[in-house]
């Protein structure tokens, strides 16, 4: 009970900072939208994109914009030595991990609330599958991304080249998850029912769970100074 209250407190703190400064969310949504527009231009004047290419376009925009948000959550704590304060406080590192992963999860969901409609406005005429069926896929990727991303952003924030290093370390780890998501999304865009896509969705669930557990166990080692 106590640890739940601590997690909610940390989560509230980060969300309040985000609400007042709006730096992560605005840059995530803006950059994602920008990518979608660039890819729409790249698709040519007749804009004939099939389901496979459409899924790729959506996920390029989503993961590249997500990296912007993931980097900020830890860089902010580093700025005034707040990590040391967090570690001194009577909160276990595992709880900090859960709170930060939740922040990232929420930021990704909010950014996607902007990006998916823009995606449908720009490319939607090509697809018969509706945006609602995308929801489970988006949430599963967010789970994997926010847990692995929290762990890796704690590492990259401890180096000299934070912004460059985060995608370099994170994308190889998340490559399989992204590939599965693109495949499943292509199925959704082609209006196939979700239960036909369980070959992709089941490994995505496994991926989320494994990275949650690994992140929870390894996170203390990546922020604690000895």
């Amino acid at each position: 009970m106590n640890s739940l209250r601590q997690i909610l407190f940390l989560l509230g703190k980060d969300l309040r900072i985000e609400l007042r400064k709006k730096e992560s969310l605005v840059s995530m949504a803006f950059f994602g939208a920008l990518l979608l527009v660039i890819l729409n231009i790249a698709a040519g004047v007749d804009n004939q994109v099939d389901a496979d290419a459409g899924a790729g376009i959506l996920w390029v925009a989503v993961i590249f914009s997500a990296v912007l948000g993931l980097g900020r959550v830890f860089a902010r704590e580093k700025e005034n030595g707040c990590v040391a304060a967090l570690l001194l406080s009577p909160v276990a590192p595992g709880e900090i991990f859960i709170a930060k992963a939740l922040v990232n999860f929420i930021l990704m969901v909010l950014a996607q609330l902007v990006l998916v409609p823009i995606f449908y406005v720009l490319f939607g005429s090509n697809f018969s599958g509706g945006p609602v069926a995308l929801l489970p896929i988006l949430l599963l990727v967010n789970l994997g991304f926010s847990t692995a991303g929290t762990l890796i952003s704690a590492i990259s924030a401890g180096t000299r080249r934070n912004e460059v290093l985060l995608p370099i370390l994170l994308f190889p780890l998340l490559l399989p998850l992204t590939a599965l998501a693109i495949k499943a999304t292509a199925g959704v865009l082609a209006a196939r029912p979700l239960f036909e896509l369980r070959d992709q969705i089941e490994p995505m669930i496994a991926f989320g769970l494994i990275f949650s557990a690994a992140g929870y166990l390894l996170f203390p080692f990546s922020i604690r100074e000895d």
């Binding site: 780890l173 399989p176 991926f207 080692f221």
Partner: protein, 225 residues
């Protein structure tokens, strides 16, 4: 403690075994019926792949041991195995492509094994970039230990998810037995053995170099104070 001034038994053994393996590949193993001479790359390809995978396994174990024990020697082992693993995986990808071009008529295809090797290459190469970006010794060791562990955890998922794509990679070692001519099998085993000894020699050498480097840095610090 490993030193550089020990007699070089392993390198000498590797120096004997690798020419022996290459000799057996070209003069002892029979020519494959359909693929012909191109099949000979398989002996090296599989030995490289086996030792590359061994490197990442050793890196993961060293990472766990470092986080538990916090001894420098485990960091040296981790760094050595990741470096060797990246080099070996590069060679696996190159030798596989050379074989795939005439046999599959393409340099690259998204097959489970190819995908897994490529993703592993990316993960552990990024780990080397990470090591170069952190100056402080303890922090570098902790970070690369975390990356080595989580990178290795990724392997089963990568393989599982890649399995869903159709596979055209030959499976020589199956559950019902090994689909190889006895002479080919002997050649393969000698090649793997040669590569393992070579791996051990490289690993020992690199660990000893890291050990030396650390001692030199300690000495430098003592002189400054």
């Amino acid at each position: 403690m490993p030193g550089l001034n020990r007699p070089a038994l392993l390198p000498a053994l590797a120096g004997l075994l690798i020419p022996l393996a290459i000799g057996m590949i070209f003069f002892y193993a029979p020519l494959e019926r359909t693929m012909g001479i191109i099949q000979k790359i398989f002996y090296l390809h599989l030995s490289l792949a086996a030792t590359a995978f061994l490197s990442f396994f050793v890196a993961c174990i060293s990472g766990i041991m470092y986080l538990l024990r916090r001894q420098r020697i485990w960091d040296a082992r981790l760094a050595a195995s990741i470096e060797i693993g990246v080099v070996l995986t590069t060679l696996v990808l190159i030798s596989g492509s050379l074989w795939g071009r005439p046999i599959w008529n393409t340099w690259w295809t998204w097959d489970p094994r190819l995908t897994t090797s490529l993703i592993l290459w990316f993960i552990f190469a990024s780990c080397l970039i990470l090591r170069s970006a952190v100056d402080e010794e303890g922090r570098r060791a902790r970070f690369s230990a975390v990356m080595a562990i989580i990178g290795f955890v990724d392997v089963p998922i990568v393989f599982l998810s890649a399995r869903l794509w159709r596979s055209i990679h030959p499976t020589v070692i199956r559950s019902e037995g090994i689909g190889l001519e006895p002479a080919m099998l002997v050649t393969l085993l000698i090649s793997i053995l040669a590569m393992l000894v070579f791996w051990a020699a490289l690993f020992r050498l690199r660990c000893a170099q890291y050990h030396q480097e650390n001692r030199l840095r300690d000495l430098q610090q003592q002189l400054q104070h």
